[in-house]
Subunit: 399 residues, 2 copies
């Protein structure tokens, strides 16, 4: 090897309040230090079975095909499109943020035709628009919506969309990357046919896995394809042969066993907390953050009534330097928050309160830190107003 | 959540002598416990830069585009085909094992036409066959070979193939999943245009990443595509925008930061050992294993003179139960070895000596354990012959 220089690995500790990853529980991190096993080791197979069972509970589904794809949430998105769409299919896709645009990008790469449902970044897709699109053409194959738009902080209602998808016989696909484990989601009861998420958001497992589920209706579509799935790595039929014990556990790729351990432990932590309690925790802390930010005179970007607990977009006040605030939060307080994506770049901050990062302490710390830095920037804010409002909100919710 | 049962995570310790993953060094596992960072954290970006630099040394390349893809080696394979082949292209692919077949599968999914170069599973692809295929048609886009066939234990020579690829103006693609960090490989000196590997074999990092490199000649082909790359997740142009600092570090997916830490540490360990010393260690231990197995009267499956040090295929003697031996190795000795894949299922065992698993102790332990179990199966073997031959071989090499 030629001479090269490299550093000793010494990452600083961070409070991760950005768009993900979130902080991980010490038990999850410890799971990564368990002995590594081969991808067909009998003990590892039992952990796979456990993990699928725990994931089914989290998705609230009985779908047999429920497992983590061995790559990040973006691979879950790609698997959702590349398995169920083929050349010439038509898909209706909600585009009210960065990840809606990504879904369109994925659908186009499958050779599908896309009818985009545009809405302002920060607003929901309205049911009327969905219905108009679904009835505009015969045989629409798929309706896709992002439940929790990480770029805008909007929580998309799904009930009416699901009913419409059934009425017009389209598959209903939901991106739950920033909602699964933090916002209400019930795959079976809500009639969702295909759903994917990411490990590193509200589940608080390290990044690298994409929890995925699809029901029989979706799998029937897959079986009826006239062309091969373009991706070998994300071919669900092959993945199912490895993951589902009844299918013979046929080798497809070397499972990232340590990440599966971590996911297993993260899911056990969710089971211990209780899913409803966890969602309420996210709701409580999200509401407190919203109250605190508004008490500081800041404007929340997402449409009122449709705001996520797990990710909040707040408008950057005029005259305040986006990057300087974020850098000072990181360097002086060890807090990461996210900048705006796409058309919201420089206009909003994105504050995540996901999984292990969604705590009262983090809400109060962030509000205090932000207040100090905003005052330094010349922004006028009543000292203590944010923390006081958040505290009061938390107290109210506790009663 | 409905009532579900799950177990506490308590994987047994294993000596991983299968086709991968290999055992990982305690320092690599400890790297997984370092604080998690966001995908654009300034410190994490420096670890990405380091990791790319260390990977370039390992691949022996100056290619700027050299980074780990955020999924396992099979995704590296898919990226290699789906970025550089498109509908109507013609590829010549060596098919002398399971992974050669996989390459064909991937090329066909790209809509390419494949000229397969078949050879018996256990033999190399001969240069004459390569030349005949390359001259059989004008404008062949790509020649693909597996350097280390994990299914057969064959080490494919690459020098003449590389020369022929240049002569016929085809891109030269090499699968180095079971060779990188364990067998000799020099991407630039050997004229390899595209090369991928897996993290969990001779690098001894946990599974989940695929080291990848491509040179300017390959990237020019990518730029000249007439159609979009079918995969968003594996689109190298987008990945390069995130990984390469000069391209603006544009978000593409959430990097699996803890796996990148582990890879960084695994690569530092390789730099400390020295790449040549490491390859010699693999050669020494592989030769000792071969000598030991042959002294036990067992037949090595791969073509003499073209045997891998990192993975050995040995024929299962008649009358010996494949599965029972492997299960007893696992249960009584904690040793994992692999069964045969594809046409070699039930016919060979696959013994890996990769990375941290490639030690003299493991060679001697495996030979001893195998001897005991073979005798139990009624196979006639001179007690101690395998270990004696391996020990002698190791001594000879040490002098």
């Amino acid at each position: 090897m030629p001479d090269i220089t490299y550093q000793e690995l010494k990452p600083p500790e961070r409070i991760l309040l950005g768009p993900g990853p979130s902080n991980i529980h010490p038990r999850v991190q410890r799971a990564l230090t368990a002995p590594l096993l081969g991808y067909l080791d009998p003990y590892f197979l039992t952990i796979m079975d456990d993990t699928m069972q725990l994931l089914r509970s989290l998705f609230r589904t009985k779908n047999e095909l429920t497992f983590p794809i061995s790559a990040t949430g973006m691979a879950g998105m790609e698997a959702s499109f590349s398995n169920f769409l083929e050349r010439g299919d038509v898909a209706v896709i909600g585009v009210n943020g960065f990840f809606g645009e990504r879904m369109v990008n994925n659908a186009l790469r499958c050779g599908a035709e896309v009818i985009p449902l545009h809405a302002e970044w920060g607003r929901i897709i309205e049911p009327e628009a969905i219905e108009a699109a679904l009835k505009s053409r015969p045989r629409i194959k798929l309706l896709a919506l992002v439940q929790a738009e990480t770029s805008t902080g909007v929580l998309q209602p799904l009930a009416e969309a699901s009913r419409l998808a059934k009425e017009y016989e389209a598959l209903f696909l939901v991106d739950a990357v920033t909602s699964l484990g933090g916002e209400e989601l019930a795959v079976d009861d809500w009639g969702i046919d295909i759903c994917y998420s990411g490990s590193q958001k509200c589940i608080s497992c390290p990044p690298g896995l994409s929890p995925f589920t699809a029901n029989q209706r979706a799998l029937d579509t897959l079986k009826a394809r006239s062309s091969q799935v373009p991706s070998f790595y994300l071919d669900l039929s092959l993945l199912a042969k490895y993951w589902l014990a009844g299918n013979g556990r046929v080798y497809h790729h070397t499972a990232p066993a340590l990440l599966v351990y971590a996911l297993h432990e993260a899911l056990v932590l969710i089971a211990e907390e209780g899913l409803q309690a966890r969602i309420q925790r996210h709701a409580r802390n999200g509401a407190a953050l919203h109250a605190g930010l508004e008490a500081m005179g800041l404007a929340l970007h997402a449409q009122p009534g449709h705001r996520l607990s797990t990710l909040t977009t707040v408008r950057i006040p005029q005259g305040v330097d986006d990057l300087r605030i974020r850098q000072r939060l990181l360097n002086e307080f060890g807090i990461e928050i996210g900048g705006g994506l796409g058309t919201l770049k420089g206009k909003v901050w994105r504050i995540g309160l996901m999984g292990h990062s969604s705590t009262e302490e983090n809400v109060l710390l962030l509000l205090s830190a932000l207040e100090k830095l905003l005052i330094d920037e010349g922004y006028s804010v009543e000292p203590g107003a944010g923390v006081a409002a958040a505290t009061q909100n938390l107290k109210k919710k506790a009663n």
